[in-house]
């Protein structure tokens, strides 16, 4: 019953001087709200970065050659070899069911693409048939090219959603023919020098669904062609791929698959010492972890800034509680005279302080949430993602109560230590 009495007494005190309670709580409310809002920004950034990485495809392991120069010529190490389609096929065979899918890519440069009166300048990427599976990318219309297309070096193309719209408007692109015109010089087959103009016909077999912008590049404004077409016809760099991308079965299999891929390729390239590997295997989980660490630090920093205002709010609590204790010195004396012990008085004021900050914390959470809602509606802030998690709320409540205890303790102890005789004499 004692606790109940203390609560009732505490609430009574808060209600008696509503203005003072409200102003005191304001510090905590603003403090908690700013922490909530700041951490929401941090959490949102974290989630956004994570989503961006995962939008490139989940559970990915990427193999890139170490010494690849711009021209595709061999780099400094005499032993270094290129990554080839053969490497990819070998991995495909040897990893078998232990992976979900595997694909290989080569960048084929920018090309001027025309169709009956319209033209556009797009990036062309040469890939293998498992690209959609690996990249978690579905077709909007039509189909992706097949393994046979790759083997037979078929001049087929899959368009990104934006490119299809640019070239065909609302009409269906599937089945249409488009023309590639080469823009850059550099020549085929490693010859430098004179610019060439070439026109190549491609049949559109499918259009990808929209994916949006990733790291500043629009993924919907590109054209995909079979790897062999890119290698033999578009760039002339026959025995090279820019990267091989493996999709692991699930997150748990990532480490194993990474090790398997590395070892298999090491054996294929006949390299005994892993340190001299002429390729790099990147595990997406590691990338995510590194980025999470960065965004995590960022979030912590933002939270700390918000925490400063909470600190100020706490000092306000201590200030007001000291004033309150002073005002109620007589009352404390009376309570002691009729038998209140030190801890009775201490609990009474401690509960009052915690009630103030607890209520302030709850209101602060509501205010913080409202702020995130309001910011989301501002047009200029569209790039900003705000995320409030259960964890954030729990921490906010916990911190509010802690503030009430920490900053209310000193005033409560002062109240408890008052001597009844002096307290009774207080005017």
């Amino acid at each position: 019953m004692k606790v109940y009495d203390s609560f009732r007494s505490a609430l009574q005190s808060l209600v008696t001087n509503k203005l003072r309670s409200a102003l005191t709580m304001l510090g905590v409310i603003i403090g908690v709200a700013s922490v909530i809002a700041m951490v929401a920004v941090g959490n949102g950034a974290s989630a956004q970065v994570q989503a961006t990485i995962l939008s490139l495809g989940s559970n990915l392991i990427t193999v890139t050659p170490s010494n690849l120069t711009d021209q595709g010529l061999r780099g400094a190490g005499a032993q270094s070899q290129n990554l080839t389609e053969a490497d990819m096929r070998a991995l495909q065979d040897q990893l078998g069911d232990s992976i979900r899918a595997i694909e290989a890519e080569q960048g084929a440069g920018r090309w001027q693409v025309t169709v009956a009166g319209t033209n556009t300048n797009v990036n062309v990427q040469a890939v293998t048939e498992a690209y959609p599976t690996v990249r978690d990318w579905n077709m909007q219309t039509g189909e992706f090219f097949t393994k046979d297309d790759v083997s037979a070096t078929q001049q087929v193309a899959v368009l990104g959603a934006t490119t299809a719209a640019n070239l065909f408007g609302d009409a269906d692109a599937v089945g249409q023919t488009i023309q590639f015109r080469q823009v850059f010089g550099g020549g085929a087959g490693g010859q430098g020098g004179a610019q060439r103009a070439r026109i190549l016909n491609f049949k559109v077999v499918g259009v990808l669904e929209p994916k949006g912008t990733t790291f500043g590049f629009s993924r919907d404004d590109q054209i995909l062609v079979p790897l062999t077409v890119g290698q033999k016809i578009l760039t002339g760099r026959r025995d090279i791929v820019n990267q091989i991308v493996v999709k692991a079965i699930d997150s748990d299999a990532m480490q194993q698959t990474t090790d398997d891929t590395f070892n298999l390729l090491l054996a294929r390239h006949k390299i005994t010492d892993p340190v001299s590997a002429d390729f790099t295997v990147t595990n997406q989980n590691d990338t995510l972890a590194a980025l999470n660490q960065i965004t995590g630090t960022f979030t912590l920093l933002l939270g700390a800034i918000g925490g400063i205002s909470l600190l100020v709010g706490g000092i306000g609590i201590m200030n007001i509680m000291l004033v309150t204790v002073n005002e109620r010195t007589r009352e404390i004396g009376i309570r002691k005279a009729v038998g209140a012990r030190r801890r009775d008085i201490m609990w009474q004021f401690l509960i009052e302080s915690v009630a103030l900050t607890g209520l302030g914390g709850i209101l602060g959470i509501i205010l913080g949430w409202s702020i995130t809602q309001a910011v989301e509606r501002i047009p200029q802030a569209q790039g900003l993602v705000l995320l409030i998690t259960v964890g954030t709320v729990a921490v906010a409540v916990g911190v509010s109560v802690a503030i009430g205890v920490i900053f209310g303790l000193y005033p409560a102890m002062r109240a408890a230590r008052l001597h009844p005789i002096q307290a009774l004499r207080y005017e």
Binding site: I334, A337, G339, A340
Partner: protein, 256 residues
């Protein structure tokens, strides 16, 4: 100290003081020897008035009696319990159990109503069961049964003091300790309060009252006079004034 005319006591005293000393230090140098060896016995059912000029130590004696302050020397037994060098919490427990305070300035909590004020001792100790009912009962005992939900600001001085007396009664203490209980009251209200004390005393309650007014002390049955920190005089009151009679006779009728 004169014990002339006193019969040998049949029971143990409620209050038993022997050689009580208390010294205060003011600033760094001045020592005030407030109590310099007080011997006092108060028996159950007595109505004692403690009188004395300023500086005689009667306020300090009241603080010691009320366990608000611990004596520096001597022994104090209250209702059989030794109140020596006890901790603050232990003193609080004794106050809660054995002492009912009535102050000159009433000392009610302004934001609580009458019932809540009266039940305060039971918030801090004793049997919490049915404390509401006991509080109402105590208020009825002092004649305020119809004002149980009033705040102190809604009550007259005399009514507030009656609430204080009800609070003092709540834990059924060994004694009621009143410090100038009529100091802030007019003649009529003073008489009403003294009438209550006399009634309670007639029913067996021990009442110890500190006062500087001879008119008030005349209502008690024993007057202890303090001087220079010791008991100078201790005598029974031959014919205590009866407050009820005074009320009936219209005391204070002509006053503001």
């Amino acid at each position: 100290m004169s014990l002339a005319g006193r019969l040998p006591p049949a029971t143990d005293p409620v209050v038993h003081l022997r050689g009580i000393t208390k010294t205060y230090r003011i600033g760094k140098e001045i020592e005030v020897h407030a109590l310099q060896g007080v011997d006092l016995d108060v028996y159950p059912g007595e109505f004692v008035a403690i009188m004395g000029p300023s500086g005689s130590g009667k306020s300090t004696l009241m603080n010691v009696l009320g366990c608000l302050d611990a004596p520096d020397g001597g022994s104090y037994q209250l209702a059989g319990e030794t109140v020596g060098k006890l901790s603050d919490d232990q003193l609080a427990a004794i106050r809660n159990k054995h002492i009912g305070f009535v102050f000159q300035t009433f000392n009610l909590l302004p934001r609580l109503n009458a019932i809540e004020n009266v039940e305060l001792p039971l918030v801090y100790g004793g049997d919490r069961h049915g404390r509401r009912e006991r509080a109402v009962g105590a208020l009825e005992l002092v004649g305020l049964g119809d004002r149980v939900h009033h705040r102190p600001s809604e009550l007259s001085g005399g009514q507030q003091q009656r609430v204080a007396i009800a609070r003092a009664l709540l834990n059924d203490p060994a004694m009621i300790l009143a410090d100038e209980p009529t100091g802030n009251l007019d003649s009529r209200s003073s008489a009403e309060i003294l009438a209550i004390f006399q009634r309670l005393n007639a029913e067996g309650k021990t009442v110890v009252m500190v006062t500087h007014e001879p008119d008030v002390a005349a209502h008690s049955r024993r007057i202890v006079r303090m001087r220079d920190g010791v008991v100078a005089h201790d005598e029974r009151v031959a014919n205590p004034r009866n407050a009820e009679d005074e009320i009936a006779a219209g005391i204070g009728a002509g006053e503001e």
